[in-house]
């Protein structure tokens, strides 16, 4: 590592020298190359510009359309088809909070547990451990609607048979984001250098004591970042909930095991968005604004956490 660092300026010097020589031999770069170079750089800038403009347009449009519906009523009133000017997101917000609480209760122990097993205990030369690894990577990319089908056939009906209750929706979302938590936690655990483990083991600690008192505390910021990102994904997910009973029109406060139905923020936004009337479109846009603010806050916190507590070993 040190040799590499010392040689970097020397390398750059050698490159600059060789380049100067080559250009002198070729009597500057051919004109076509210079033009092509400029055009290419322009195209790249255009690409970045389009991506950023798309993001910006989305935010501005949500604000332009939704600002008229922004008020405290939006958060505290139930939805209504008869009085769109008074309609809000109250049951959806309460539903989303409960859904997310369930997701956290499930993915934190299970996700971190799986990550610890795969990083600290599993022998990677065994085929079954490699299978688990490929399987998790694949699960992370399975379409969310497939998790909805799983939830419908396995959790709502079938073996678990919970019925169309909020807890079933929560479990479905938890399974959906579990691979994200496992992958992020593994990366955080991997970043802890082996010397920490060896030092602890050499002092007589058992493997679990080493993990609990040394490895885990050192990797908590990375794990927390992964969990927050996973939770924000669960918060914004709509498709699987449609299949596991998040009914679009719930006017009462949902409970985890209530059988009268439940709603969630993105599902309610979806319902408003489907209605062509101007008032409902404004409600949808305002809901999107609320959700974007919450998600942005969560993601910024996650990024801040990562940068603030990132340990350099």
């Amino acid at each position: 590592m040190e040799a590499g660092q010392a040689s970097a300026p020397r390398n750059r010097l050698a490159v600059a020298g060789a380049r100067a020589t080559t250009e002198a031999m070729l009597r500057s770069q051919p004109r076509g190359d210079v033009i092509r170079n400029t055009v290419f750089a322009g195209l790249l800038l255009l690409a970045v510009g389009i991506a950023l403009a798309g993001l910006l347009a989305l935010l501005i449009q949500a604000f332009a359309k939704g600002s008229s519906a922004l008020s405290l009523d939006l958060l505290t009133n139930p939805p209504s088809t008869a009085f769109p000017e008074k309609a809000g997101y109250r049951p959806a917000i309460i539903g989303s909070l409960q859904l997310v609480a369930g997701v956290i209760l499930f993915v934190v122990p299970v996700g971190i547990g799986a990550a610890i097993y795969l990083e600290e205990y599993a022998d990677n030369s065994r085929w079954w451990n490699r299978l688990v690894e490929i399987n998790i990577q694949n699960l992370a990319a399975v379409p969310s609607i497939i998790y909805g089908i799983l939830g419908l056939a396995f959790i709502v009906r079938g073996p678990l048979d919970l019925g169309f209750i909020l807890a079933a929706g929560s479990l479905t979302l938890a399974l959906l984001v579990l691979p994200m938590v496992i992958i992020a936690s593994r990366e955080a655990l991997r970043a802890v250098p082996d010397s920490i483990r060896q030092g602890s083991l050499a002092l007589g600690a058992t493997q679990w004591q080493t993990i609990r008192t040394q490895v885990l505390p050192a990797s908590i910021p990375g794990i927390a970042t992964g969990v927050i990102l996973a939770v924000s994904r669960a918060l914004g997910e709509t498709a699987p909930l449609l299949l596991v009973g998040a009914t679009v029109f719930v006017t009462f406060d949902p409970t985890p095991f209530g059988t009268d139905g439940y709603s969630a923020m993105p599902v309610q936004i979806f319902n408003y968005a489907l209605r062509p009337q101007e008032e409902f479109q404004a409600l949808a846009a305002a809901g999107i604004l609320v959700m974007l603010v919450v998600l942005l806050a969560m993601n910024s916190f996650a990024i801040w956490l990562r940068n603030r507590y990132e340990q350099r070993w």
Partner: protein, 305 residues
């Protein structure tokens, strides 16, 4: 030989408990496969396989119903095609810019912005697609009468496609940029030393060297596009059509599932089973793409890291 004084049953119990957590992921996959297969077999007992796989009419509500899955597969491909035509150049351009051109300060603002874009819920992108991209961008810009024209249509495959394209740009950009950053400095420096311009280095050296990662990012993006639900439900409509015409209202596989399998559907009906048959096709398509992309990423990691 050093040995622990006790057998340490607690340690072993913990290990097994943790292994159980990891095993849960395998159980999830197994459960997905089981829950798809059962009703799918039931579906094929009612609907002949050749009608399903080769038919181009998807009309479950008609009497007699027709279940030609190619119609909604075409809908998915239609949206994916136009989305990728947008996302591949934009995503790769952004990746090359970030890895080769951007100053550290620009990187520090552009990368988080792309992360924000990646974190936007798809229901918001779907709303944006149907209420902004369609009326404000496609309708004014689309040449009148071309392929049937865009004006006056409330849903367009192209609107959903562009929305999906916007959604997958961060995926392509970030994975491709990772792959480009993994190319050793020596290759850059060698090319610069020979007098190559920045554009030449990027296109002739970095791009080929990072190709497996770039292809992986595109394959993963296609897989995401094929599996995306909310954007197509909101912007592409629900009229199954066997066409790749971007200015048509179509139905994608995911939107059929999402609009059919809502709470009140009865378990034994053909419609219920058809959801699982379509789900199986969707799962198989994305599984193949995911495995290909995972392998490709591993390849560039093996070569350079």
């Amino acid at each position: 030989m050093l040995q622990a004084e006790s057998k340490r049953y607690g340690e072993r119990a913990i290990k097994w408990l943790l292994a159980l957590c990891a095993l849960l992921s395998v159980l999830t996959t197994t459960a997905i496969v089981i829950s798809l297969i059962g009703p799918t077999i039931g579906f094929f007992e009612i609907v002949p396989a050749d009608e399903f796989f080769f038919g181009i009419d998807w009309t479950p509500q008609f009497e007699p119903p027709s279940f030609g899955v190619l119609s909604i597969v075409a809908g998915t491909l239609n949206v994916t095609l136009w989305g990728m035509l947008f996302a591949i150049p934009v995503g790769l351009g952004a990746a090359v810019y970030l890895s080769e051109y951007a100053s550290p300060r620009v990187r520090k603002t552009v990368k988080p912005a792309l992360e924000v874009l990646a974190g936007i819920p798809t229901v918001a992108i779907g709303f944006f697609a149907v209420s902004f991209i369609l009326p404000e961008i496609i309708v004014p810009l689309w040449p009148e009468g071309l392929l049937g024209g865009a004006a006056g249509k409330p849903f367009l495959a192209l609107a959903a496609g562009l929305g999906i394209g916007l959604m997958v740009v961060p995926i392509i950009a970030s994975i491709s940029e990772d792959a480009m950053s993994a190319v050793p400095r020596g290759l850059h420096e060698g090319a610069y030393a020979l007098g190559a311009t920045k554009a030449k280095v990027a296109t002739k050296v970095i791009f080929p060297a990072a190709l497996s990662g770039i292809v992986a990012s595109i394959v993963l993006a296609i897989s995401r596009a094929v599996g995306e639900t909310m954007i197509v439900v909101l912007a592409a409509g629900s009229t199954p059509k066997f066409t790749l015409n971007p200015v048509e209202s179509i139905q994608a596989m995911t939107s059929y599932i999402a609009t059919t399998a809502t709470g009140d559907i009865s378990t034994g009906s053909v419609d219920y089973k058809s959801v699982f048959a379509v789900g199986t096709v969707l799962f198989a398509m994305t599984l193949v793409m995911n495995v290909v992309s995972i392998r490709l990423v591993r390849r560039y990691r093996e070569v350079y890291e």
